[in-house]
């Protein structure tokens, strides 16, 4: 599908039928089919400031950012064959943060919102619109504009999406299409993975536990082991999954799959040169197979390191993109009506998606802001989209100054997994402490 991106200013009459629209990118196509009231596919990034947010300055910053990112002012519409995103001439909502976290976006709404409470600014974005990387770039711009409004001088040479610049077409391209190569063999299907056997929380199920980790400690330990922080955390995740599995009763052990696999999203903007502000990430899935016996932590760490190195290789990533994009390009897939396609996508998401991995570790990396702005911010919290009933727990990570913040989003009743995780970090000389988040927090 081609973009029909017209000048936004000439099209802000809500009654006009010639609003700009664009097709969902390849990664976003699955989300409309799987979204429910509990599994909302909404990402949340929060910035906790040193002082209370000045509401008027913040509104001005959001208005300026809206002009810079017009491709985010869209709503989800249903076509006959696919969903698509259509321009919606509304302002981005700025609301008090006193409701549930990662709430579903209703029909006819924009797919992003700002939530404020005391000194916290949170951006919630639907995964249909963009991934964590794109959402963070947007929040970063809004934060810089906000502090500029508050009188903070931003260095001229600091790179960010300045409101006076015009957007480039590359920012709203479907980058998967650009890097798609035809005639690449498809990926071999993986076996089913182990899933945490915890019972589910009462509705509303989703709750979060924040773990504050010392950046210095984790950096030192990761460096000693010659791995990155992401690899280290994925290994800790797998080690804890193994621990949970080994404490199961013999009958449950027999029933459960013995393959433990962690999904680690990779920001493809770092691998392929792309400016896109829409979804552009893929997953690697390091695994351990407990049928081969007990793994020591060092063994897991080595294995995860090598698997990640191998899977983030450009050619293998290309193979993944080709699998995903290739299937959407097939004529028989394109000609299936949307309601049938939604059923198939939902089934595929369960069989090819969630059933193949036991957990998620997503790392946004270290936040880069001008020192003048960084001084005014205490920390960031990234919340991954609420996991479904099968996955139960996911972990999102973001680093800022001397603090690495882990956020465990969970729909399980028990917080055993989170506690094990913190205990393991502390035992390995990485000082960390956890706090349960209330409704109004972060």
């Amino acid at each position: 599908m081609k973009f029909c991106f017209m000048d936004v200013k000439s099209n802000n009459n809500p009654k006009t039928n010639n609003r700009f629209w664009y097709a969902l990118d390849n990664a976003a196509k699955i989300f409309p089919a799987i979204i429910t009231r509990e599994v909302t596919s909404v990402i949340r990034i929060s910035a906790k400031l040193a002082e209370p947010v000045h509401i008027e300055a913040f509104r001005k910053a959001v208005l300026m950012a809206e002009n810079r990112f017009p491709y985010y002012l869209v709503q989800l519409r249903k076509g006959f064959f696919w969903y698509y995103l259509e321009h919606l001439p509304h302002h981005i909502l700025v609301e008090p943060d006193d409701k549930e976290c990662c709430r579903k976006f209703e029909k006819g709404d924009l797919l992003l919102r700002f939530l404020l409470w005391e000194n916290s600014i949170s951006l919630e974005v639907s995964h249909i619109l963009t991934d964590g990387g794109g959402a963070f770039e947007f929040l970063r711009t809004v934060l810089i504009l906000y502090f500029q409004e508050c009188g903070v001088a931003i260095p001229e040479d600091f790179l960010y999406k300045k409101p006076q610049e015009k957007w480039s077409e590359e920012e709203f391209e479907d980058a998967y299409q650009r890097y798609f190569k035809e005639e690449i063999p498809p990926l071999v299907r993986r076996s089913k993975a182990f899933h945490l056997p915890f019972s589910l929380n009462m509705s509303p199920r989703f709750h979060r536990t924040i773990v504050n980790v010392s950046m210095g400690d984790i950096k030192r330990v990761a460096k000693d082991n010659r791995v990155s922080i992401t690899v280290y955390l994925a290994a800790v995740y797998l080690y804890n999954l193994q621990d949970v599995f080994e404490h199961l009763n013999p009958i449950s052990k027999l029933k459960m799959s013995k393959v433990l696999r962690v999904q680690v999203p990779v920001n493809l903007r770092n691998i392929f040169s792309s400016q896109t502000m829409r979804n552009f990430s893929l997953f690697v899935m390091p695994e351990i197979d407990l049928r081969l016996g007990h793994y020591s932590f060092e063994e897991i760490l080595r294995s995860v390191y090598h698997q990640m190195e191998l899977e983030t290789e450009e050619k293998l990533i290309n193979k993944n993109i080709s699998r995903n994009v290739g299937s959407e390009k097939k004529i028989y897939v394109r000609s299936i009506p949307l309601f049938v396609k939604s059923l198939i996508l939902k089934a595929k998401f369960n069989s090819l998606g969630t059933s193949q991995f036991s957990g998620v570790v997503t790392n946004l990396g270290r936040v880069d802001l001008p020192p003048e702005v960084a001084d005014k911010i205490d920390h960031f919290v990234l919340t991954a989209p609420p996991p479904n009933k099968m996955l139960k727990i996911s972990c999102a990570v973001v680093g800022f100054k001397e603090r690495l913040t882990l956020c465990f989003g969970s729909v399980a009743k028990s917080d055993e997994f989170e506690k094990r995780f913190v205990r393991f970090l502390n035992e390995n000389n990485i000082s960390s402490e956890s706090e349960e988040l209330n409704l109004i927090n972060s």
Binding site: A33, I34, H54, I55, E56, D97, L200, A347, N350
Partner: protein, 241 residues
């Protein structure tokens, strides 16, 4: 710079209301103190009175209060009408006894929700007494003891097992419907047997076997779909309703 007393954001000095949450921004002086306190109280009350925020026990107690009001007023009105029209308590004995038994059961359910055996046992006793009383009112033909109580016992045992089974199930979906169907089948067999025993003094089964066979076939199909085909099946989403 002012700060909103509700959401805590900073506002311009001349603002009268918080532009984020709509809270009025008043100086804390003699004239405004009462209003500020009322707002604070209202906010807290709003949080407390939201039905979703009540605990399970609070919700059950609320249900008990409402049912007690309806049932007791119903009993009272029935008694008065009966007494005024007939000069005695005749037909009103039926609704009054049923109403009291119902109230007793709801009360037990409110306080002993988690103690199923105690609640189930006492509920069975009260319902058995109710049946015997109804039998006595209607001429004491003996159906209460011979037919009513065995049927009641079968119903209590099967439903009790069903509830236990559902509570033990971690993944609730089509399997719950399958268990309910199987329970219905078993209950039909019990009912058929008890009625035949009461009528002919012989234990034989007729129609209930057909019900049971159908229930088994459908349940097996549902259990297969639940356990083998899809783990996370949201029916609404699956059928795209």
């Amino acid at each position: 710079m002012k700060h909103c007393p509700n959401c805590g954001v900073a506002l311009d000095e001349n603002a009268n209301f918080c532009s984020l949450c709509g809270e009025p921004l008043l100086e804390r002086n003699e004239a405004n103190l009462a209003f500020i306190e009322t707002r604070r109280q209202q906010r807290e009350d709003k949080l407390l009175t939201e039905y979703q925020k009540l605990s399970g026990f609070q919700k059950r107690r609320l249900f008990l209060k409402i049912s007690a009001m309806i049932l007791l007023s119903g009993i009272f009105i029935t008694l008065i009408i009966d007494f005024v029209t007939k000069g005695d308590f005749t037909w009103s004995r039926y609704p009054v006894t049923v109403g009291l038994a119902l109230l007793l059961n709801i009360t037990m359910g409110t306080f002993w929700y988690c103690r199923e055996i105690l609640w189930g046992g006492l509920s069975f006793l009260s319902s058995a007494v109710l049946l015997v009383l109804l039998d006595i009112y209607s001429g004491n033909s003996g159906w209460g003891m011979q037919l009513g109580i065995p049927l009641l016992f079968a119903a209590y045992v099967t439903v009790f097992i069903l509830i236990r089974l559902i509570r033990l199930t971690s993944q609730k979906g089509l399997n719950v419907i399958a268990y309910a169907l199987l329970t219905t089948g078993i209950l039909s067999i019990c009912t058929d047997g008890i009625i035949n025993l009461y009528k002919t003094d012989l234990v034989n089964f007729g129609w209930s076997l057909i019900v049971m066979a159908s229930a088994i076939i459908v349940s097996l199909l549902l259990l297969y779909v639940h356990f083998r085909l899809k783990k996370v099946t949201d029916l609404k989403r699956f059928f795209h309703i």
